[in-house]
């Protein structure tokens, strides 16, 4: 039983990290129509920004904010410089996916050329261990869960109660119709890249914190887990991604406790493939 509870705790933390990443990814896809596979590369790039600050003596939680900004700037630039020109030219969605894979190589290995192939860690304290209801978590893990809850609430508030959120949903549903209704879709798209880029930066940093050590290509595998959560919830569905993240996070960690931990991601992949085969529109979440 304690094994189960321990893995449940890990599952919640993984789900928290995954939720931030998956919600950012799915909103990015919904509004901008780019299946941006370079998302993982931007995550790790942002994590390194926090790392460099951390090395210079800045607290990692402060670094997290800067990483969010870095993710936002990088994502906006990625769109302005690469994706938007391809989209304006009328390139097929699949061309953009290939371009985003190319950008993944450029960003990840460009970064690796700078930082080298070895893994690094933040200098930080894990804080005292907290026990609650049989769960054993470090303070840092609790903070990550709390942060994720706050981010989810903020996303919910944004989508439901703000004009920007409405404009984003309208743009996601039908960009040309939204434009004809007077929504400045170009600006909505740019703001979306900034917001989801910030989520991407936060996700990269908390992933790095949670994993303990990370390198330039650490997000490769995690990107696939993000995709699993996104597709489980239905591509483009923010609430679906949240639910997908929770399910995938728990499933990977709990299965890791009972089978070979090396296979824990295989569970996520299996879920993704089954979802794609059976319900290409996603299983969870009807609207977002």
């Amino acid at each position: 039983m304690s094994l189960f509870l321990a893995s449940l705790g890990f599952g919640l933390v993984t789900a928290a990290v995954l939720a931030i990443a998956a919600v950012g990814f799915t909103m990015q896809f919904a509004v901008t129509d780019v299946l941006n596979l370079a998302y993982g590369a931007v995550m790790i790039g942002s994590a390194f920004v926090a790392y460099w600050l951390n090395q210079a003596g800045v607290n990692v939680w402060l670094g997290l904010l800067v990483a969010a900004a870095a993710g936002a700037v990088a994502s906006v630039l990625l769109n302005r410089g690469i994706y938007a020109p391809f989209q304006r030219r009328g390139s097929a969605p699949i061309t953009l996916v290939i371009v985003s894979l190319g950008m993944t190589l450029i960003i990840e290995f460009g970064l690796q050329a700078i930082v080298g192939g070895t893994s690094v860690s933040y200098t930080m304290s894990q804080g005292p261990t907290v026990k609650a209801g049989g769960l054993v978590l470090t303070t840092v893990q609790l903070v990550i869960i709390g942060l994720s809850v706050v981010v989810m609430a903020a996303v919910h508030g944004l989508l439901r109660y703000t004009k920007l959120g409405k404009a984003m949903r309208a743009t996601a549903a039908n960009r040309s119709l939204a434009r004809n209704c007077g929504i400045r879709t170009d600006r909505v798209v740019t703001v979306t890249w900034a917001l989801t880029g910030a989520l991407c930066g936060v996700a990269g940093t908390v992933l790095a914190i949670n994993d303990g050590s990370f390198g330039a290509t650490s997000a490769d595998l995690f990107l696939v887990v993000i995709l699993a959560a996104v597709f489980l919830g239905g591509p483009g569905q923010a609430y679906g991604a949240m639910a997908g993240a929770l399910i995938i996070g728990l499933a990977t960690e709990i299965s890791a406790a009972y089978i070979n931990p090396s296979y824990k991601y295989v569970v996520a992949f299996g879920v993704l493939l089954i979802v794609m085969a059976v319900r290409p529109g996603g299983v969870l979440g009807a609207t977002a």
Partner: protein
């Protein structure tokens, strides 16, 4: 040359052959059939592992330091043949991803994920394929009889590899330069439209996945026979990206481009960078920059030269050459001898089964389609009588296009029935409806852009002997007769619609009106008994619109039944009888335009809606 240099040259030749075979397989999937297989490397890996475990002795007899299944110690060429078979079979489970249901980019992501997962599984599971360490000491082919270290053997190995590469080139050319290949390219350009013209997408995609998989498997077998080891690090998902870079740079859809790309990227580029000295204190820097360069090459080529170094060739249909003017007995001469003789050779249609009472060719019973909570079409029951040009009008959002899509099978119905020629076709997929003569066109431009006008027309020909994989493999001689007949029919249609001068123009380069005509001609090539036209005159010059209308009336006189969605009331007045009026998902009225104009609710629906 020293023997080391010679060995290096042989090495390069073998690698080139292996990469050429792999790139040809990928080009066939990606460039010709439009399947973005991000998991391509899995198939090469499957072939390599298969060849390895077929040719290795049992694990006990091999020193016991590695564990693997199989170990049958089989002589060449059985391991290579086995590799091709397994490479092809591995493709079968993937067909559910690239079937009709999933968007192309989603399927690509699914395949990428599968590649990562497969690598992870093999890396971590040692008993089957020796895990991350991989298999080593794989016997070279016929190493019992010959000495694999001898130069003669190595030259022979390179020669066999290159001969196989040439054979593969010949094979994929034969498939692609056939009516079957034309169907593949049509599917690549627009799969929904290809489906509506009678192409079985699932079967086409499955065949290409299996063919590409078998070729990838062969390339893996050749490679493992030469380097004698194979491990998960050799087939990371990123290796697929290298092959994609090769195909994109060389020219997707052009097999010579795939060969060039294979030589340029995985061989020349990776070998050239090997000589860059590593910078002290920066291990792996050159490797990293090499990946960056691959990424840059992909992005830059897709931007500046998306067609690649060697673009896909335009297929011309021997314009200048004298063609046989022998009347083909297959072509039914319709419409007799009017004042314009060129109209006479025209449309061959599926003889619609004679109905005893001359009843409707198509009817629906309570047809309904919901999108979420919206009733786009709500309980529509209509009849379309044989030989009529029936109009379907209604304000925006009335459900006309949705109705048409359900009739053609492009969109599944929520409830209700579609009865065509007396039989219930409600659950019949679109391509099967097209094959029994129920053919649609689309509201949005739907030409196959990278096919010429002539190819667009030919792509729709049903029951073409060359339009199966087996027929394509049997060669031109087998299907030339059908092709010539089809070309004659297409020429007659081009004459009739005044587009003879555009036969060899890419459909993507036509004007809006010409595209409309091309689409109608293409639908006619499918030998329809009934045409479902979705705004065939939208965005067309009024004069051309009236010409199209006249042509459609001519088709009806020849026995074809037409249901046409149209916005322009003047067109309806002139050509359509009867006319069905829809509003808010339901049928409002049916009758002649004159009668409808007298009914206030119809006028109101138009004015208010």
């Amino acid at each position: 040359m020293t023997s080391a240099q010679l060995f290096y040259v042989i090495n390069l030749l073998v690698y080139a052959g292996v990469d050429i075979i792999a790139c040809l397989g990928l080009s066939q999937q990606f460039g010709v059939a439009g399947i973005t297989n991000f998991g391509f490397i899995i198939f090469q890996a499957a072939g390599a592992y298969t060849a390895a475990i077929l040719s290795l002795p049992s694990q006990g007899a091999n020193g016991g330091f590695q564990s693997y299944i199989g170990g049958w110690n089989l002589p060449w060429p059985i391991p290579w043949i086995g590799a091709m078979i397994v490479g092809g079979l591995v493709a079968l489970p993937f067909t559910f991803l690239v079937g009709r249901r999933l968007r192309g980019d989603f399927a690509a992501v699914g395949l990428l994920v599968t590649a990562v997962m497969a690598n992870l599984l093999v890396t971590n599971y040692r008993p089957a394929l020796n895990g991350s360490a991989g298999l080593s000491l794989v016997p070279a082919p016929l190493q019992g009889e010959y000495n694999p270290q001898s130069q003669g053997y190595q030259w022979l190995y390179a020669a066999v590899t290159l001969v196989l590469a040439a054979a593969v080139y010949w094979l994929v050319r034969r498939v692609t330069e056939s009516p079957y290949g034309r169907s593949l390219r049509a599917m690549r350009d627009n799969d929904v439209v290809a489906d509506s013209l009678g192409k079985n997408l699932l079967s086409l995609r499955t065949a290409m996945l299996v063919l590409g998989g078998a070729l990838a498997g062969l390339s893996g077998a050749i490679l493992v026979g030469f380097i004698t080891l194979w491990a998960p690090s050799a087939w990371g998902y990123a290796e697929t990206i290298v092959l994609f870079a090769a195909v994109i740079i060389g020219g997707a859809g052009n097999h010579r481009g795939a060969v060039l790309g294979a030589i340029l990227v995985p061989v020349a580029f990776e070998e050239a960078t090997r000589y860059i000295p590593s910078i002290p204190g920066k291990p792996g820097l050159v490797d990293d920059l090499q990946w960056v360069a691959i990424g840059l090459l992909i992005v830059l080529f897709l931007w500046f030269r998306p067609q690649g170094v060697l673009p896909e060739r335009r297929r011309r249909t021997a314009v200048g050459r004298p063609r046989s003017v022998m009347p083909n007995e297959d072509v039914v001469t319709l419409a007799g001898t009017g004042p314009e003789p060129r109209r006479s050779v025209a449309v061959r249609s599926v003889p619609a089964p004679a109905l005893p009472d001359g009843g409707p060719l198509l009817r629906t019973v309570d047809l309904t389609r919901n999108f979420g909570g919206v009733h786009a079409v709500a309980g529509v029951s209509i009849e379309v009588r044989r030989g009529t040009l029936t109009g379907l009008i209604g304000p925006n959002g009335a459900g006309k296009s949705t109705l048409l899509a359900m009739l053609a099978g492009t969109l599944p119905v929520t409830s209700g029935r579609v009865i065509y020629a007396g039989s219930d076709v409600t659950t019949l997929p679109a391509y099967r409806r097209a094959r029994i003569g129920l053919v649609r066109t689309f509201q949005l431009a739907s030409e196959f852009k990278r096919l010429t006008v002539m190819e667009n027309l030919l792509s729709a020909v049903p029951r073409h002997r060359g339009d199966t994989l087996a027929g394509a493999l049997r060669g031109r001689r087998y299907w030339r007769g059908d092709e010539e007949a089809a070309i004659d029919r297409a020429r007659a249609l081009l004459d009739r619609f005044g587009l003879s001068g555009y036969a060899d123009t890419y459909a993507g380069d036509l004007s809006g009106g010409q595209r409309r005509l091309t689409e109608i001609m293409r639908a006619l090539m499918a030998e329809p008994a009934m045409l479902l036209l979705d705004e065939p005159m939208a965005g067309v010059h009024p004069r051309l619109a009236r010409q199209i209308g006249a042509q459609l009336l001519g088709l009806c006189a020849e026995g074809i039944t037409i249901l046409m969605v149209e916005h322009e009331l003047a067109i309806m007045d002139e050509f359509c009888d009867p006319v069905i009026v829809m509003a808010e998902g339901s049928v409002l009225a049916t009758g002649t335009m004159a009668a409808l104009r007298a009914r206030s609710e119809v006028v109101e629906a138009y004015l208010v809606g």
